[in-house]
């Protein structure tokens, strides 16, 4: 595996909070970043079928009005579709620049109405009929098809979507402090696993941890000119009123950051390229807002809520 390649591309993104920078990456840096939102949302309230009378008939009270001069009306995308006005500053400009697209009516034939079955079905990407291989996610198969171009999951656990024949490393960006075990100790531990089914995970874990820590230490320093710390960023977000719950302590902040990372699975390829180190402040509000919508459950929302 060309580990160095993905580490270098990862280094473009020293913190998940800088996700906004990714949009500005030049076209030559072909990458696929998959963010899987594990909650549910009302698609017809985000992507508004403005040409559909059925939509307006079905939602006499909560439909988003057709595009107009009022600030509460849908933002025009084309003659059939509009965007919820809350996205005016975030996703809408991306659409206008040709950097965002929407795929309506994408779904599965799974009629169980089970949230979990449907999630599994999407992550597995296999026909619903017949027996399914639960150890084969579609991103893993894609990675195999792309000749093993490096993929990585920024999650604590390897999600189903990334499980399969290609060994995909994972590392939550939160835990990238200096490795606790030195090289000798790591080698001795790895030797215990030699020839066992866990051997690959153990070796991969040590290698990724060490290399990420080394690469990111330099990157973080280079990228942190004028940037605020993660904690400062959180406080900044609170001041801007974008976080629904005030974290009571550092642990809570970590909890929230971790959850966000768990939602995002990324696969990336590409040449070594670094974005200029941008202060977090500039891109801070956008990911914060996304986070507020899908991260920590907001009161009266989340949990098992899905219909």
């Amino acid at each position: 595996m060309k580990r160095r390649t993905f580490i270098n591309t990862l280094a473009m993104l020293p913190l998940a909070a800088k996700m906004g920078s990714l949009w500005a990456a030049p076209a030559a840096q072909a990458k696929l970043l998959v963010v899987f939102l594990r909650g549910g949302y009302d698609a017809a309230n985000l992507l508004i079928p403005v040409a559909s009378q059925f939509y307006y008939d079905s939602r006499p009270n909560i439909a988003v009005p057709r595009p107009g001069t009022d600030l509460n009306t849908a933002l025009p995308l084309n003659s059939d579709w509009g965007l919820h006005p809350a996205l005016r500053e975030s996703i809408y400009p991306l659409y206008q620049n040709g950097q965002a697209a929407f795929i309506p009516f994408a779904g599965t034939e799974d009629m169980t109405r089970s949230h979990f079955e449907t999630q599994d079905g999407i992550e597995l990407g296999q026909p619903l009929t017949g027996s399914r291989n639960y150890a084969s996610g579609f991103l893993n198969r894609l990675s195999a098809t792309l000749n093993g171009d490096p993929a990585i999951a920024f999650t604590d656990q390897l999600p189903i979507i990334m499980q399969g024949s290609v060994q995909v490393p994972n590392s939550a960006l939160r835990s990238l402090a200096k490795p606790a075990l030195d090289q000798r100790q790591s080698d001795i531990i790895a030797a215990m696993y030699k020839g066992t089914p866990l051997s690959q995970q153990v070796n991969e874990g040590f290698t990724v941890r060490n290399e990420l820590a080394q690469e990111l230490a330099g990157e973080m320093q280079a990228a942190s000119r004028n940037a605020i710390t993660a904690k400062g960023f959180e406080l900044e977000g609170l001041r801007a009123g974008i976080a629904p719950h005030r974290p009571a302590d550092e642990g809570k902040i970590q909890h929230r950051l971790r959850r966000r990372r768990r939602l995002g699975h990324a696969r990336r390829t590409g040449q070594r390229h670094r974005l200029p180190g941008r202060p977090l402040r500039r891109t801070g509000t956008r990911p914060g807002r996304v986070l507020a919508g899908d991260g920590r459950p907001v009161e009266g929302h989340g949990g098992g809520g899905h219909q």
Partner: protein, 524 residues
């Protein structure tokens, strides 16, 4: 699944056949005699088998648990675990638990107090002061939730009723709720202690009913919003899909809708005032603590559920639905399979699941009886030491092995490790609960995290003996893992590679770290 330590496993496999045969031929009592008061001491292979079983049935081997199973013999140990009596914790630990707010204040009173705090905070006019007051409220919610998680861990670590504690977590995960929804942080401790734990080895029907009537569940799955004319199907769906019948359990969307109607009006009341109920329905109103059945919100129409009518009569309709769900063969199979997934294998043998389901049905959903069938199955014995530990099992078993009955002073480090590995208590957001399979946990990132935890425990630097508070008191406690238990019991079961690693340790700290990092420690 291939085994992490091949030479030992050959021995063990032989032992399995012997033990399995003994049980089938001669029955339980005889087996107990052979391993305890019997004349001949157990062979090395039998001893290894006993340790492996202890490791599976408990939260992890340690010296005191090992002494108990040696003294009682395997069979008597199993029966005691399946039918536990109250076993007090050591005094120092009981004192830790007794000092907790969640123990000293009943849930409904604690809730009232915190509701008042929340209202007071919201009513503060000054923005900065309001922020401070709201933060204090959130911190108090966090604190009581942390108490609940700490109590849970202390019981896992030190209770002699190890199976009951294992099953408490199993059912808590099965009937999952998430602490960060609404004010569930106030409710999770009571949910675990009052709804789950007393029934963890009892009748499934009682357990199911206790969860149906607990405010934590009714709030988590939105049933408090479920009313006649404003149906919310969430809970009804999960009750069948995740709690009882299973997704292919033979129910239809119509059944979901009908069960949702049965559940209308079942909710919570976090305040101190009762709702206005129509005069003719007032006799039907029920309030028990925070649980409330409000007949005004109930759909009193005729219903049919799973192919049979349900007579409209208010809250009692639920009992009828619970009966039907808990006695369905689909439930027997679904629950049996999940138990086998937890205790036997990521791919439970269908024949074993079938036998367990038969016991479940014959015993009217007796959980201990179902487990008894499983514990005596050759498939169970053949599976020992091969189930990959989820993070909670890894953390608890490591601390148990390191410190045995020495009481930790601070569970905070353990809670942090569980956070890092993605399995905090009450922390699963979705109602399906945490995965019980290796593929969900054995990722590269998780393995390296486990080794770091092994080092923290092994070197005594974890902070488990450092009290919280402004003037933390630390009693350094360096674990002695190279002890009698190790040399007499554990060492013979270790693979050659693990022994070779241990020989390279440059210090006792490193030796501990390697033992806790070994493949053997990752499995139960």
């Amino acid at each position: 699944m291939p085994l992490p330590f091949s030479t030992t496993m050959l021995l063990t496999a032989t032992a399995l056949c012997t033990l399995g045969a003994l049980i089938t031929l001669t029955g339980c009592a005889t087996t107990a005699d052979t391993s305890s008061a019997g004349t001949a001491p157990p062979s090395a292979a039998q001893r290894q088998q006993q340790l492996n079983l202890l490791n599976r049935v408990s939260w992890g081997v340690n010296d005191s648990a090992d002494r108990v199973i040696i003294a009682q013999g395997t069979e008597r140990y199993l029966q005691q675990q399946l039918h536990p009596h109250d076993a007090p914790l050591p005094a120092a630990l009981q004192a830790q638990i007794d000092a907790m707010t969640i123990v000293q204040t009943p849930m409904d009173q604690l809730n009232l107090k915190l509701e008042q705090q929340r209202k007071d905070a919201d009513a503060v006019v000054d923005i900065e002061q309001k922020k401070t007051a709201q933060q204090a409220y959130q911190q108090e919610l966090n604190r009581v939730a942390k108490e609940a998680a700490t109590r849970s861990l202390l019981r896992d670590l030190y209770s002699t009723n190890q199976l009951q504690e294992q099953m408490t977590w199993f059912w808590l995960n099965h009937f999952n709720v998430h602490l960060y929804k609404s004010n569930l942080r106030v409710l999770v401790g009571d949910y675990e202690d009052q709804a789950i734990r007393p029934h963890a080895l009892g009748k499934f029907r009682d357990l199911l009913s206790a969860t149906v009537h607990h405010p934590a569940m009714l709030r988590y799955l939105d049933n408090e919003q479920n009313a006649a004319g404003h149906i919310n199907e969430n809970y009804a769906r999960e009750l069948m899909e995740l709690h009882t019948l299973g997704v292919n359990g033979g129910y239809s969307q119509h059944d979901v809708q009908e069960l949702a109607r049965v559940l209308t009006g079942v909710g919570v009341n976090m305040g101190s005032t009762a709702p206005n109920v129509k005069r003719e329905l007032q006799a039907q109103y029920v309030r028990r603590g925070l649980f409330e059945f409000n007949p005004n919100r109930h759909d009193y129409g005729a219903k049919d559920f799973l192919g049979q009518p349900i007579r409209a009569r208010g809250l009692a309709e639920i009992d009828e639905a619970i009966d039907r769900l808990s006695r369905s063969p689909a439930t027997a199979h679904f629950i049996s399979r999940k138990l086998a997934l937890y205790f036997v294998s990521d791919d439970p043998p269908p024949a074993l699941v079938e036998r367990m389901a038969q016991t479940f049905l014959k015993s009217d959903g007796d959980i201990a009886a179902t487990l008894n069938t499983m514990f005596h199955a050759p498939e169970f014995n053949a599976s020992l030491a091969q189930k990959f530990k989820d993070p909670l099992h890894y953390v608890v078993s490591s601390v148990r092995l390191a410190y045995d009955d020495k009481a930790i002073l601070n569970a905070g480090p353990m809670l942090n490790w569980l956070n890092r590995m993605g399995e905090p208590l009450y922390g699963r957001q979705t109602p399906d609960g945490y995965a019980l399979t290796q593929s969900a946990w054995a990722s590269p990132g998780q393995m390296s995290t486990r080794f770091e935890i092994a080092k923290a425990i092994g070197s005594g630097s974890a902070g488990l003996f450092k009290t919280d508070g402004p003037q933390p008191l630390e009693k350094p406690a360096f674990p002695q893992l190279a002890n009698a238990l190790y040399y007499q019991s554990l060492q013979p079961g270790l693979g050659a590679a693990t022994r070779a690693a241990l020989e390279q340790a440059a210090s006792p700290q490193e030796w501990n770290t390697y033992l806790l990092s070994s493949p053997e420690m990752m499995h139960r």
